[in-house]
């Protein structure tokens, strides 16, 4: 068996096990209502995690996304409040802006040969600051178009409301899977994550790939911002602090190697749902502090890091055995 897929299988097994445990305690958790809410509540996280997955696969990191989501919300809210532009026009402007922002960070990372950590850290402060500049208050969004999207859902059997943003998240994951696994660009991303020098020898255009990866992440952060603004109905510059770290956690729990080069887009979806499930469990329980979410996520992260280290050791020793 290919050891590469083991973390993905582990993720899926852990998710199913966790779900089964929750179901034993609260049978109601296995209903279309809960599942639909799981998708809706975590739509923004899932979308931004798709972008993050690609970045991490390439061997990088993007710390700016949480701030970009907050900026997006404020940007939309302020523009809709102060102008008569249609939300779709505002969305297009925003996506162009965040994509360009990501591309610029990618350009700097490649051109200056700077660690992605530092460049995107600067981007994080920049985007957060820009959000404060637009407004420090929470700006409510009242637009008939927003009401329409917010109320757009498909009533599943069992009275679960599958909302538009949940569906959008699933579509984005699907698109992410195609980009990562079915295009030459995706192959280049894996190659870069596997080893920059070797990738260059094999003909990867490093600059182009790096810029595209961060542009994609910026675009996903913008889209996530749109979804978040629909979800909350407002834009607030203090929102989604630390979301970039939650997204990174989801990607790693989803079985992607933090050093890049190995992982699956689908695993990220499972990672996001696992984190959502923990939260749902705590809500169901009612007596637990919501901080337990963080503790469980911390433990899960640790488990996955150990798992990946173990697998690495395993494949190395097997290889050594094969050679001699």
């Amino acid at each position: 068996m290919n050891t590469r897929a083991l973390p993905l299988y582990a993720t899926i097994v852990i998710f199913l096990l966790a779900y089964a445990i929750c179901w034993l305690q609260f049978p109601a958790i296995l209903s279309t209502r809960v599942i639909a809410n799981l998708l809706t509540d975590n739509a923004y996280l899932g979308i931004v995690a798709v972008g993050m997955t690609l970045v991490i696969l390439s061997g990088g990191i993007d710390l700016s996304v949480g701030s970009v989501i907050a900026f997006s919300g404020v940007f939309i809210a302020v523009l809709l409040r102060d102008s008569s532009l249609h939300p779709l026009v505002v969305f297009a402007m925003l996506l162009a802006l965040t994509t360009a922002f990501g591309a610029a960070m990618g350009f700097l990372i490649h051109r200056l040969a700077m660690p992605a950590f530092i460049v995107t850290l600067a981007g994080m402060f920049l985007a957060r600051g820009a959000a404060y500049m637009l407004s420090i208050d929470s700006v409510p969004i009242t637009h008939p178009f927003y009401d329409m999207i917010q109320n757009a859902y498909w009533l599943m059997p069992g009275k679960g409301r599958l909302r538009l943003i949940g569906v959008l998240m699933l579509l984005i994951v699907l698109a992410g899977m195609i980009i990562a696994h079915k295009t030459r660009f995706g192959a280049s991303v894996y190659a870069l994550g596997g080893g920059e020098a070797t990738a260059r020898l094999m003909g990867v255009r490093q600059g182009r790939t790096t810029i595209l990866v961060y542009a994609f992440s910026g675009c996903m952060a913008g889209l996530s911002g749109i979804v978040f603004s629909i979800y909350t109905g407002s834009g607030y510059s203090l929102a989604t602090v630390g979301t970039e770290l939650t997204a990174i956690a989801a990607v790693v729990i989803g079985g992607t190697l933090l050093t890049g080069g190995a992982g699956y887009m689908f695993g990220t979806l499972i990672g996001v749902l696992t984190m959502g499930l923990i939260q749902t469990y705590i809500v169901f329980d009612g007596t637990l502090s919501s901080w337990w979410t963080k503790i469980v996520i911390g433990v899960l992260l640790l488990v996955f890091i150990l798992l990946q280290k173990g697998l690495l050791k395993l494949s190395q020793s097997r290889l050594a055995g094969g050679v001699s």
Binding site: R184, A187, A191, G193, R200, M202, V323
Partner: protein, 503 residues
């Protein structure tokens, strides 16, 4: 001629890496490129693959002048390369590696099924039946090497450069790779084969070109050469003056034992060896590149911990688990690659010299500046380091003077046993003799020295005793009147029966 190189020249600051080298490669031949470290093999290859830009000379492929500026461009021209370190990605599947950049597509998306089929077909030509969907990293290095060859041939298809492709393979795997290479020769490719393993050269290649110090020494048909002749070409035999007398002089003095290495070894690195170092003695390690010279020294200095054996001096056993312990035991080691392992290029001569001493004192007790100045001035004078001042960055000095700074650092710590790995590499001839003289001065003062060198004459000039290594084993110990180039050369060549593989 498929590829013809005329008077290729390449200079780096301070050194002439290639000096008017001619090289011809015919279609359907395997041409070995040999030479010790620093001979210019890799520079020549890098000029061909576009990693370096040549300073002079011409390169013609199929009669047309070429000057590739990148590996990708060289590939498009028809020159593919496979390096010692497999240059594919272990985290991608075999099929992805083979087809990378040329994946068959349907509706803009990669057609995985077609890619798989094509990859399988490519490997079938090399007699390999693999699951191409598995990660490359799951396969042995030999298989990875063949996959790398398959990819290089598919991309370029005229000239294939194999840069030590067998360095980490065992005998059976080497055969596997050789069969593939022979198949490609029959298909009419021109193959450049770089290797340290002479048996492999004799087994596989049609012609041999030997480089030494950036110059072409000879090109001959492999069948017309014997091992001895080849080694003479590689190591050079221009006997220098003063050599004979010094070796005669050091022959009959006896040295009280200082250190005993008993059965020191490490699996896959060097076979267990016994070695006794006498006080005030110079012991030389001779052997071809890859024979285990540096590895022996690394074990003796604790850079790689020994798995077997024991080390003791007259006071009792020593535990050399790391260089720190070795330094504490009074050892010193001037490494082969002084640029990366020896000097700190941005620091001044003074800072480089006091570095070791300061490290031993600990950071809490800085050496007073006046003392530092005195030390630096002292060694600059004693070792005749040519510089405009003690505050000059070491990186600005010439190779020989850099080497003297490294020596000065160790001497400042007053070790009892100093290991010098290729102390004269990349140093001009004048400085050469100076370093040798210095070694004699040191041993006269009671220090013991271990010298590793590819240059037999240098070993003969410096050493009281010479240990000869072959295939990661200490095979002979020569002392007294037997320390002469001929005997050493013969011991290096050995029986010639076996020993090509790195086990």
């Amino acid at each position: 001629m498929l590829l013809s190189i005329r008077s290729l020249t390449k200079t780096f600051p301070g050194t002439l890496a290639l000096d008017g080298v001619d090289f011809d490669l015919a279609a359907g031949e395997v041409h070995a490129l040999l030479g010790e470290n620093g001979a210019g093999k890799s520079t020549l290859i890098k000029c061909l693959t576009g990693a370096y830009h040549r300073d002079g000379g011409t390169v013609a492929l199929d009669g047309a002048q070429i000057a590739p500026r990148s590996t990708v461009e060289a590939q498009e021209l028809g020159i593919g390369t496979v390096y010692q370190e497999v240059n594919l990605l272990p985290n991608l599947t075999v099929a992805q590696n083979l087809m990378f950049g040329r994946e068959p597509r349907r509706f803009g998306l990669i057609d995985t099924r077609a890619m798989r089929a094509e990859a399988r077909e490519m490997l079938r030509q090399y007699g390999l039946e693999l699951d191409v969907d598995r990660d490359l990293g799951n396969y042995s290095v030999a298989i990875q090497q063949i996959i790398a060859i398959a990819r290089a041939v598919a991309l370029s298809g005229k000239v294939l450069i194999l840069d030590e492709p067998t360095a980490s393979l065992d005998a059976r795997e080497v055969e596997m790779v050789f069969d593939v290479v022979r198949g490609l020769r029959e298909r009419g490719l021109g193959i450049v084969f770089v290797s340290h393993f002479l048996d492999q050269v004799f087994e596989l290649t049609d012609r041999v070109t030997v480089l030494r110090n950036g110059r072409k020494i000879v090109t001959e048909r492999t069948a017309d050469l014997d091992r001895m002749g080849l080694i003479e070409h590689m190591l050079g035999r221009a006997l220098e003056n003063e050599v004979e007398q010094q070796s005669a002089e050091g022959a009959d003095t006896t040295h009280p034992d200082l250190l005993h290495f008993n059965g020191v070894g490490r699996r896959g690195v060097i076979e267990p060896f016994d070695l006794t170092i006498g006080q005030g003695e110079v012991v030389g390690l001779a052997g071809l590149l890859g024979s285990g010279r540096t590895e022996s020294a690394e074990l003796m200095f604790g850079i790689r911990p020994a798995q077997t054996g024991s080390i003791r001096d007259d006071k009792g056993p020593l535990d050399l688990k790391n260089p720190r312990a070795a330094i504490a035991a009074g050892f010193g080691f001037a490494p082969e690659d002084r640029k990366t392992d020896g000097i700190v290029a941005d620091l001044s001569i003074r800072e480089n010299i006091v570095l070791g001493l300061q490290a031993r004192r600990g950071w809490a007790r800085p050496i007073p500046r006046a003392e530092q100045n005195r030390l630096a001035e002292d060694y600059i004078k004693r070792l005749d380091i040519r510089t405009s001042g003690r505050e000059k960055p070491v990186g600005d000095l010439s190779g020989g003077n850099q080497q003297k700074v490294v020596l000065a650092r160790w001497l400042a710590m007053n070790p009892r046993f100093l290991i010098l790995d290729e102390p004269t590499r990349g140093i001009d001839v004048g400085a050469h003799a100076e370093i040798l003289r210095l070694i004699h001065d040191l041993t006269d003062a009671g220090m013991s020295v271990l010298v590793i060198s590819s240059e037999i004459e240098e070993l003969v000039a410096a050493s009281d005793r010479v240990i000869v290594l072959r295939d990661r084993r200490h095979v002979a110990e020569l002392s007294g009147s037997r320390v002469v180039p001929d005997t050493i050369m013969r011991a290096i060549a050995g029986g010639g029966a076996k020993g090509g593989e790195a086990a």
